[in-house]
Symmetry: C2
Subunit: 134 residues, 2 copies
């Protein structure tokens, strides 16, 4: 079922600083910031040869990463995103296995324009997992 | 400078349970557990098409992930590992940029038999970063 690691998302308090860390210190190819108001974040994409890192800064009062940054003021890894071929089949399999899918289980359209679901960290080794239909 | 994402390391309190989550729930290809006494962990490798996830369980009293699991009893993402072509050049560049390299800055031989260094989370968006010479 599990496909590629689509991305690792790192929440940062200061996107300009995060960009500098990845561009100047680590020497990676880093995109311009992209506001995603529907998802409450501004994103910078760090392109690696085999996957990408997404640096996320809160955007708006209801940003889903605001509480995380209050607990982790220096930033931190917020979630990992795995690709699946069929997100509804993945959801049904996970629910049958007893895992908790966040929300009402209906995939939403994610920041890449594809259906996504989030899985409960308590059921996945303490890790917030996003599934994205590839 | 930054090459492939070599792995994402997830610390888990119970490797058998973590293996079941990735094998049965998520349907991934998962290795047998491998004890790494020199590194204080037992590791299971989750093979994805483009990278791998390493599930780490503490091994021995001085395991470097024991304190992390005390703070995060359900487990959590412990570090990310990026490949670099020349670890000494990477270290010298990072130190010149003002970043903190953990330990005395001398690469150690990591669990894959290659030279590795760890970088201070405070200087890298709150994320513990391992560099491995590819």
């Amino acid at each position: 079922m599990l496909g590629r690691l689509n991305h690792v998302a790192i929440a940062v308090p200061d996107l300009a600083r995060g960009t500098e860390v990845y561009r100047s210190m680590l020497g990676a190819t880093v995109s311009a910031p992209q506001a995603e108001p529907a998802h409450g974040v501004t994103v910078v994409f760090v392109e690696l040869p085999n996957t990408k890192i997404e640096l996320l800064e809160p955007l708006g009062e209801n940003s889903p990463i605001r509480a995380f940054l209050e607990k982790n003021p220096a930033g931190g890894i917020h979630h990992v995103c795995y690709e699946v071929a069929d997100i509804l089949a993945a959801r049904d399999h996970l629910k049958a296995e007893g895992a908790r899918v966040l929300g009402d289980g209906t995939p939403k359209i994610g920041a890449h324009g594809k259906p996504v679901l989030f899985l409960h960290p308590k059921d996945f080794c303490g890790t917030l997992v996003e599934l994205e239909q590839a």
